[in-house]
């Protein structure tokens, strides 16, 4: 995964609650066996609405999305993240996320930032007129003259900043995993299955 330190640009003022992964990418586009080529299907039903933000030249190609509560709820499809990234989106600022979506985003180097409602409202207003700067290093969002801080899990921050391969990191614990498995085979021999 590519390292990410900051994201700068316009932000789609989506604002809605419960933006589920079927809205981000409908199920019938999940038939791909690669990770690319999903941009044209991203947010399909919203893009069909007249005057929608995704087709508006003001925001088209913006790297940030601002939304309400429970963003990315529903299906675990990582294709939703791939489609958003294919569209050029690198960060989401929302009130809350589904656990699976924020995990998927992180694995692909997409930043998911949580902000309280009053800040989301201010950001949505600002997104109408100007660009937003997100610094992962200083954990701040800058818009106009304003600055707000955000929290990020230290482990995720390190992985994002360095672009670390998580599987490679875990394989560094191979001896621990093997020891765990040996213990498990004594404690619960029924876990292992014949092949």
């Amino acid at each position: 995964m590519k390292p990410v330190k900051e994201v700068f640009g316009r932000a789609y003022p989506l604002g809605r609650d419960n933006v589920d992964t079927d809205i981000i990418l409908p199920g019938r586009f999940l038939k791909t066996i690669t990770r690319s080529g999903l941009a044209s299907a991203a947010f399909e039903s919203i893009r069909a609405e007249p005057g929608n933000i995704f087709e508006n030249p003001v925001w088209k190609g913006a790297p940030i999305v601002i939304a309400g509560q429970n963003f990315g709820c529903g299906s675990s499809r990582e294709h939703a993240v791939w489609a958003m990234m294919d569209l050029g989106i690198l960060a989401v600022i929302a009130e809350s996320y589904s656990d699976i979506f924020s995990g998927n985003a992180f694995k692909n180097g997409m930043v998911t930032i949580t902000q309280p409602r009053h800040n989301i409202v201010r950001l949505l207003d600002w997104a109408q007129v100007g660009a937003i700067a997100i610094s992962l290093l200083s954990q701040t969002i800058t818009f106009g003259d304003e600055n707000v801080e955000f929290h990020v899990d230290p482990f995720r921050k390190e992985c994002l900043l360095k672009g670390l391969d998580e599987i490679g990191l875990t394989l560094g614990f191979d001896a621990d995993i093997t020891a765990f498995e040996q213990d498990l085979s004594q404690r619960q021999p029924w876990i292992a299955l014949p092949l």
Binding site: I23, L30, D153, W190
Partner: protein
């Protein structure tokens, strides 16, 4: 720290391989279910990095999402080809990847094939106290047998294949206590719809739910699977039921369940999993089962739930402007009007199936409602899709298939079917479906589709009347 732990905390603690100072844990995964939609890119990742599958014995692959539910072999026993080339390519990828990486595979024509979340428990592959993952959010279903089970993305699928672990931070705990007896015509599906409707579709975010209370204790394993399945629709990472005698009776003798002395050891280990008396949860919600009526959804989120005796709500009565706006949008998409009686809503499609409601008890109950009756002439499509080959054969042995067919419903091959519009089973644009699946999202059952979620007996009643109906008027003797 009191030292008293919940069921979730006990399962978590017993699977920690390594704990970082910041609380992130490397968690061991006992069971990994694979299907065709979320695995191809993960296998490609393994190949690109020269990695193998660490524990193929703990992994089980089953195709389900893309498979058509029409017959899979022709009269001569030869396999039918799949017309949709993208679906065919995805299914072929799994069929190649499973043997290449040494993974057990129940293929499209295998007698055990079915929806992963139906297959896991019925094969005894899913066991109490285990950690179970799958690249599918409805993995939470397996919590019904007392496992910590949750959906993951494709990157995590690759991570589990390569390491049999995941890097995770612990969730908060939430008790959903349901006490009392279920009313006439009220099923576990109605309970979970009503629970999510009251709590909200995001209420469980960051939490693992434990379902407790007398209603849950007296519920069948299949009912528990239905409820745990929809934990994700409340935003929860997972939902668990404490394993008990009902669970053990369900699992005993199943193919991958422990045998002989191992069985005795396993049962005593499983008995120790129950939440300690006095352990506390971060959040508690309490429900009275007796107060829950047959329940349906009216809108496009699991927030949008109403008893069948109710009406489409009025957005103007909402104080919160964001909620008012989302309700207006949902009512518009669904083609409804505020104040409309739910029982006046006509449907054209009936879907009885999905990982939520396609098990034998669901089919028995639905068959009882349509037995000796016929679907309404307005119904254009009515399909019954058993959750697995085993469920299908059991239903056929009991004659349920004939009851459905005589009533005018179609009897199909197992798969995810009309739940998610990835295979030929779809709801046409603008049409309405009485569906036993788990999501009423915009376009979920096909572009422009309008979904009303409900229990199998409620969907059966809708089939007979051609509109949403209170099944309590239709139960019993014809």
């Amino acid at each position: 720290m009191s030292g008293l732990r919940t069921l979730y905390e006990k399962i978590w603690d017993s699977h920690v391989v390594h704990r970082r100072d910041d609380g992130t844990c490397l968690l061991y995964i006992d069971r990994h279910l694979i299907h065709e939609v979320t695995s191809a890119q993960a296998f490609d990742g393994l190949r690109a990095n020269g990695r193998s599958v660490r524990r193929p014995d703990l992994t089980l692959a089953v195709p389900d999402h893309n498979l058509p539910t029409t017959p899979r072999v022709d009269g001569s026993g030869a396999r039918m080809t799949i017309a949709d080339m993208d679906s065919a390519a995805q299914l072929e990828a799994l069929e190649r990847n499973a043997p290449e990486f040494g993974i057990r595979y129940f293929g499209a024509t295998a007698p055990e094939q079915g929806i992963v979340h139906v297959v896991g428990p019925e094969q005894g592959f899913s066991l109490p106290g285990t950690t179970i993952v799958c690249g599918d959010s409805h993995t939470s279903a397996h919590g019904g047998i007392g496992a910590l089970a949750f959906g993951i993305g494709t990157s995590e699928v690759e991570h589990v294949l390569a390491t049999q672990t995941l890097q995770l931070t612990p969730s908060k705990t939430m008790e959903v206590r349901i006490d009392g007896s279920l009313g006439y015509g009220v099923t576990p599906k109605d309970i979970i719809l009503a629970v999510i409707g009251r709590m909200g579709a995001g209420a469980g975010t960051g939490h693992v739910i434990e379902y407790t209370g007398s209603t849950c204790r007296s519920m069948s394993v299949e009912g528990r699977l239905t409820i745990a399945n929809m934990s994700i629709e409340a935003g929860a990472r997972a939902g668990v039921f404490a394993p008990d005698e009902t669970t053990f009776a369900y699992l005993k003798g199943r193919r991958f369940a422990p045998k002989g002395a191992d069985w005795e050891r396993a049962v005593s280990a499983w008995c120790a999993l129950a939440t300690d008396a006095g352990a506390s949860y971060d959040k508690v919600e309490i429900f009275d089962a007796g107060a829950i009526a047959p329940t349906v959804t009216w809108g496009t989120s699991l927030d949008d739930v109403v008893p069948i005796t109710g009406c489409v709500p009025d957005p103007e009565s909402m104080a919160d402007p964001a909620r008012r706006e989302s309700m207006r949008k949902a009512i518009g998409y669904m083609g409804l009007a505020a104040g409309q009686r739910m029982q006046d809503i006509a449907v054209q499609n009936i879907f009885i199936g999905s990982c939520t409601n396609s098990r034998i008890e669901d089919l028995r109950a639905a068959a009882q409602v349509v037995r000796g009756r016929h679907i309404a002439p307005e119904i254009r499509q009515a399909i019954v899709v058993p959750g697995s080959g085993l469920v299908k054969r059991q239903a056929e042995a009991e004659g349920l298939d004939l009851i459905f067919i005589e009533a005018g419903l179609e009897w199909r091959e197992p798969g995810c079917s009309m739940c998610l519009a990835m295979n030929p089973d779809k709801v046409p644009p603008g049409e309405r479906c009485a569906s036993t699946s788990n999501r009423n999202f915009v376009g979920r059952q096909g572009p422009g589709s309008r979904t009303h979620l409900m229990s199998p007996i409620m969907a059966a009643a809708a089939a007979v009347t051609g509109r949403l109906a209170d099944v309590r008027d239709w139960m019993g003797v014809v």
